[in-house]
C-alpha cells in the first residue's frame, strides 16, 4: 500500500532520515516505534505530502507522492487520513459539524444522508450522544475519538495515527487500542501507528518497525522483535535507562567539570 | 439558518456603508447640483481672475445660482475666459448684468458676484453661450497697495 524506498530527509543541516526503506502492507496495522525526537511525526507528514524528502520515493497506491502535482496530491489525500496527536478538531464547530466537515467538503450529498453518515461514524467511536458538544467541552480522550470519527468519515484506505496513546488514561487508552483494531478489521483499512508505548503497540500491530539514529534498527512481527538480537532494540522494548542509548547527554568528563567549578 | 441570519446582518452593514457614501457624495461634496440639474452656460472675459477656481460658486445677492465650470486663456488677447454654468431656473438675466470677482470675508475664498442689470425694450436676455460684457476682475492686493502708495506720493 505504501512503499518507502531510500528515503533521505534533512531539516537544515540535520539529517532526520538517512536512506531509509519501509513497506506498509494493505489491510494490516503497521507500527513505527522509536525514542522521542527522531521525527516519527515527520515521517507521517512525508507520506501525506506535507513535506518533501531530499531523495527517495514514497509510493502510495501506485503514485509517488513527492513527484505529484498539486491537484494530484489533493486527490491522493482524499484516500488517506491522519489522526493528529492533539486531535486537531476545528474549535469553532460542534462535534457533529467536525465529523461532517470532510463529507461536506468533498461530496454534494443531501444533508439527510450526511446526518446518517455522521451518526454512524460517531456511533463507531461511541460518541453519538456528544454530537452537539463543542470541542472545548470534550475531555482529551473524547476529543481524540471525535477526531478519529472525522478521520474515518470518508472511509479512507489508509489511516495514520500520530501518537494515539500519548497522554491518555488507561481506560481511554484501552478504548483507542480497541478502536484501532476494530476499525482496521471492519473497514479493511491500512493503518500506520506511530507511538512509543511498547505494550499497546505490541498488542495490536501486525508488523513493527523500530526507528532510531536516522534509520530502521529492527523490524518484524512483534514476536520476532522480542527475539531480536540487537541490544538497541532490546533496550527500547524493555525500557532500560542505560544501554546503547546512553542515559547521559554527550558531555565532557564529569569529574573534570566539577574540578573546573572549584577553580 | 445561521448563514441566513449572518447574511441579513452583513447586508445591513453594507447598506449603512452605502448610506454613508450617499451622504458624503450628496450632502458633503454636493455632486448633485451641477451634475443632474439643467444648466446653461455663460462666458465672460476678465482682466484678472485672482484665485478663482473651477467649481467656485456664482452668487446673486449671496444666493448660489451656479458654478464656474471652466477657466481658459484667450490665445489672442491673453485674457482669461471663464465659463459659468448657471442653473436653468435662473434664466432671465438681462445682457446689462455685470460680473465681479469677489472675496467672501477677509481670508475666504473667491467667488463670482452677478449683479442683475436694468431691463427695457432694447435689452435682450442672456442665452446659452452668450458673453457677459460688463466684468470686473479680481482685486489683487499688491496692486491695491501699490496704487495707494503711488497716490500718496503724488499728493
Amino acid at each position: 500500500m505504501v512503499d518507502i524506498q531510500n528515503l533521505t530527509f534533512r531539516r537544515g543541516e540535520r539529517v532526520i532520515y538517512d536512506n531509509m526503506s519501509m513497506q506498509f502492507s494493505r489491510g494490516k496495522v503497521t507500527a513505527i516505534m522509536g525514542p522521542s525526537g527522531i521525527g516519527k511525526t515527520t515521517l507521517l507528514r512525508l507520506i501525506g505530502g506535507q513535506l518533501k524528502p531530499d531523495s527517495g520515493s514514497i509510493v502510495f497506491d501506485g503514485a509517488n507522492i513527492p513527484t505529484l502535482k498539486r491537484h494530484e496530491l489533493y486527490q491522493a489525500r482524499k484516500k488517506m487520513s491522519m489522526l493528529f496527536q492533539s486531535g486537531a478538531l476545528f474549535t469553532e464547530m460542534s462535534v457533529f459539524d467536525n465529523v461532517a466537515f470532510p463529507i461536506r467538503e468533498h461530496t454534494r450529498l443531501p444533508e439527510a444522508i450526511i446526518r446518517m453518515m455522521v451518526l454512524m461514524k460517531l456511533e463507531a467511536v461511541g460518541l453519538r450522544g456528544a454530537r452537539d458538544l463543542m470541542p472545548s467541552e470534550l475531555s482529551g480522550g473524547m476529543a481524540r475519538r471525535a477526531a478519529l470519527a472525522r478521520a474515518i468519515a470518508l472511509d479512507p484506505q489508509l489511516i495514520m495515527y500520530d501518537e494515539p496513546f500519548a497522554g491518555q488514561d488507561p481506560i481511554s487508552m484501552g478504548v483507542i487500542v480497541r478502536l484501532i483494531k476494530s476499525l482496521n478489521d471492519a473497514l479493511g483499512m491500512t493503518s500506520i501507528v506511530v507511538s512509543h508505548d511498547v505494550t499497546e503497540v505490541m498488542s495490536i500491530a501486525d508488523y513493527v518497525y523500530i526507528v532510531a539514529e536516522r534509520k530502521v534498527i529492527g523490524h518484524g512481527t512483534p514476536a520476532q522483535l522480542l527475539q531480536h538480537e540487537s541490544p538497541l532494540v532490546q533496550q527500547f522494548l524493555q525500557g532500560q535507562a542505560d544501554g546503547p542509548v546512553p542515559f547521559h547527554f554527550k558531555a565532557a568528563d564529569y569529574a573534570q567539570e566539577l574540578m573546573e567549578m572549584k577553580g | 439558518m445561521t448563514t441566513r441570519k449572518l447574511e441579513v446582518i452583513v447586508g445591513a452593514f453594507v447598506a449603512i456603508a452605502i448610506a454613508a457614501l450617499l451622504l458624503l457624495a450628496l450632502k458633503v461634496a454636493n455632486t448633485g447640483v451641477t451634475g443632474s440639474d439643467e444648466t446653461y452656460k455663460l462666458l465672460a472675459k476678465f482682466e484678472n481672475i485672482g484665485g478663482l477656481k473651477v467649481r467656485s460658486p456664482v452668487k446673486v445677492g449671496g444666493v448660489v445660482v451656479g458654478r464656474v465650470s471652466d477657466i481658459q486663456l484667450d490665445p489672442e488677447s491673453f485674457q482669461p475666459i471663464v465659463t459659468l454654468e448657471i442653473n436653468a431656473s435662473y434664466s432671465n438675466f438681462p445682457e446689462t448684468s455685470s460680473l465681479a470677482i469677489l472675496t467672501s470675508g477677509l481670508l475666504g475664498e473667491q467667488y463670482i458676484g452677478l449683479q442683475a442689470g436694468f431691463v427695457d425694450e432694447t435689452v435682450t436676455i442672456l442665452k446659452n453661450g452668450d458673453y457677459v460684457e460688463n466684468t470686473k476682475g479680481a482685486i489683487v492686493l499688491e496692486e491695491l497697495i501699490g496704487q495707494f502708495l503711488f497716490n500718496r506720493g503724488n499728493s
Binding site: R45, G48, Q50, R70, H71, Y74, Q75, R77, K78, M80, S81, M82, F84, Q85, S86, A88, L89, F90, T91, F101, P102, R104, E105, H106, R108, A147 | T3, L6, E7, I9, V10, F13, V14, I16, A17, A19, A20, L21, L23, L24, A25, K27, V28, A29, N30, T31, V33, R55, S56, P57, V64, G105, L106, L107, G108, E109
Partner: protein, 259 residues
C-alpha cells in the same frame, strides 16, 4: 562593524523572504486549487466577523474624532473670524486623511490582531495541517475569505467613519458652538470635490485595507506555533501594519494631493 553589516544583511534577507512567503500565501489563496465547494457561507461569516464586529469601534471613534476636530478647529478659526470654514476643515481632514488612516489603525488593532491570533492558533493546534490532510486547502478555505472580507470591509468602514465624523462635527460645531448650520454644509459643498477628496480617500483606504489584511494573515500563517509565537505574531501585526499604513499614507498623500 562587520557584525552590524551582517545584521543589516540578515534583516534585509529576512524581510524579503517574508515578503516572498506572503506573496506565495496570497497567490495560493486567490488562485490556488482546489477551491472549496461551498464558499459563500464562509465569506458571509468573515464579512460578519471582520466587518460588522468592527463597526462599533469605528462608529464611536468616528463620532468622537469628528467632535474633537470641530472643537479644536473652531477655537483656531474663530481667531480669524473664519468660523464658516469649520465644515470644510472637518470634512477635508476626515475624507483625505483621518478617515482612511484612523480606520486602518483601528482595523489593525481590532480585526487584524484577531485574524493573526485565530490563524496562529489554528496552526498551533494542527487544525491547518489536518485540513490539508483532509485534502482541503487551508489557503483557499481559511485565508481567502478573510482576505476578501478585510479588503472589502475596510473601505466601507472608512466611509462610515467619515460620515459619522462629519455628523459629529456638525453636532459640536452647529448644535453646540453655534456655527451657522447652512454655512457648515454649504462651505463644505463648495470646498469638497467628489473625485479629488472622496474617491481619493476611498482609494487610500483600499490600499491600507490590502496592506493591513495581508500583514495580519501572513503573520498568523507564519507564526511559530507556540503560545509565545502567537502573542509575538499578534504584536507584530499591529506594529508592522500601523507603521506600513503611516508610511504608505505619506507616499499616497504626496502622489494624490502633493502635486
Amino acid at each position: 562593524m562587520l557584525n552590524k553589516l551582517q545584521q543589516l544583511g540578515a534583516a534585509t534577507i529576512g524581510t524579503i523572504q517574508g515578503l516572498g512567503r506572503a506573496s506565495l500565501m496570497l497567490f495560493g489563496a486567490l488562485w490556488g486549487r482546489p477551491r472549496p465547494v461551498k464558499a459563500w457561507p464562509l465569506y458571509v461569516k468573515q464579512f460578519y466577523v471582520v466587518g460588522v464586529l468592527s463597526l462599533l469601534i469605528i462608529l464611536v471613534s468616528g463620532l468622537f474624532i469628528g467632535m474633537v476636530l470641530a472643537l479644536q478647529g473652531y477655537t483656531v478659526l474663530a481667531k480669524f473670524g473664519a468660523e464658516q470654514m469649520l465644515g470644510p476643515l472637518v470634512a477635508l481632514s476626515l475624507l483625505r486623511e483621518l478617515g482612511p488612516v484612523v480606520t486602518a489603525l483601528l482595523f489593525a488593532g481590532r480585526a487584524g490582531s484577531a485574524l493573526t491570533a485565530e490563524i496562529g492558533l489554528m496552526k498551533a493546534t494542527e487544525q491547518l495541517s489536518s485540513m490539508e490532510m483532509m485534502a482541503v486547502d487551508p489557503l483557499r478555505r481559511i485565508i481567502a475569505p478573510r482576505f476578501w472580507a478585510g479588503v472589502i470591509c475596510m473601505p466601507l468602514l472608512a466611509l462610515i467613519f467619515n460620515a459619522v465624523g462629519i455628523l459629529g462635527g456638525h453636532l459640536v460645531g452647529v448644535d453646540w458652538l453655534g456655527v451657522d448650520g447652512g454655512g457648515y454644509w454649504s462651505a463644505m459643498q463648495a470646498n469638497v470635490d467628489f473625485y479629488d477628496d472622496i474617491v481619493n480617500g476611498i482609494i487610500k483606504s483600499a490600499v491600507f485595507a490590502f496592506i493591513v489584511t495581508v500583514i495580519a494573515l501572513h503573520k498568523g500563517f507564519d507564526a511559530i506555533p507556540t503560545s509565545e509565537g502567537i502573542s509575538q505574531a499578534t504584536t507584530q501585526t499591529v506594529v508592522t501594519a500601523s507603521l506600513a499604513v503611516l508610511g504608505f499614507d505619506f507616499i499616497l498623500t504626496a502622489v494624490m494631493f502633493g502635486g
